[in-house]
Symmetry: C2
Subunit: 96 residues, 2 copies
C-alpha cells in the first residue's frame, strides 16, 4: 500500500535540525521523497508499523508534527502532480 508521510519539524535549534535530518533519513529507507517534507512509501503493514515507531522515536512530540495518510494499493489514479520535480514511479525497479 502507499503511505504518505508528511512532517513539520521545528528547526530553530541544532537539536531540531538533527531531528529533521534523522526523520528524512529514516523515510528514505522506506520510500521516495516527493517534496521537502513529503515522502511516498510503498510498504506492507509490518513495514508501516516499523516506520511509525521509528519516526515516533525521533520527533519531539511537543514541537513537531507527523502525519501518515494511507492511500491503499490502488493509489496511482489518486495522485496528481503539477510542476517541477516530478518523481518516478516508486515501484519501478531501481537501476544502480
Amino acid at each position: 500500500m502507499l503511505v504518505l508521510v508528511t512532517y513539520d519539524v521545528v528547526t530553530k535549534t541544532a537539536i531540531g535540525q538533527k531531528r529533521l535530518r534523522k526523520v528524512a533519513k529514516t523515510c528514505e529507507n522506506y520510500g521516495l521523497r516527493v517534496q521537502n517534507s513529503v515522502f511516498e512509501c510503498v510498504v506492507d503493514a509490518t513495514q508501516f508499523k516499523q516506520l511509525q515507531l521509528a519516526l515516533q522515536g525521533i520527533i519531539d512530540k511537543e514541537e513537531d508534527s507527523l502525519r501518515f495518510y494511507q492511500l491503499g494499493n490502488n493509489y496511482k489514479s489518486k495522485v496528481i502532480h503539477v510542476g517541477a520535480k516530478e518523481t518516478f514511479n516508486v515501484e519501478d525497479t531501481l537501476i544502480l
Copy 2:
C-alpha cells in the same frame, strides 16, 4: 471527499514568497492547514477542479511542485497524526 494538497514553492525571491502566500491563501479557502505546506480539503468534484485550476494559475511550473492526493469519502481511518498541532475535524462546524 478529502483531498490532500502538498506543495513546495521556491522562495528565494520576493516573487516566490508572494507565490507561497497566494498558494496558502487559496488553500485556506478550501480546507484546513495541517502542516506548513499541507492542507486537507473536503471538497466535491467541482470544487476540486476549481482548486486545481486556481493553484496551477499561481505556481511557477518550472520551479514549484504541487501534489494532490485523493483520499475519498471514508478517510477518517486513513489519517494518523502524531505530535504537535493536532487539527480539528475538518467537517466540524466552525464557530465564529
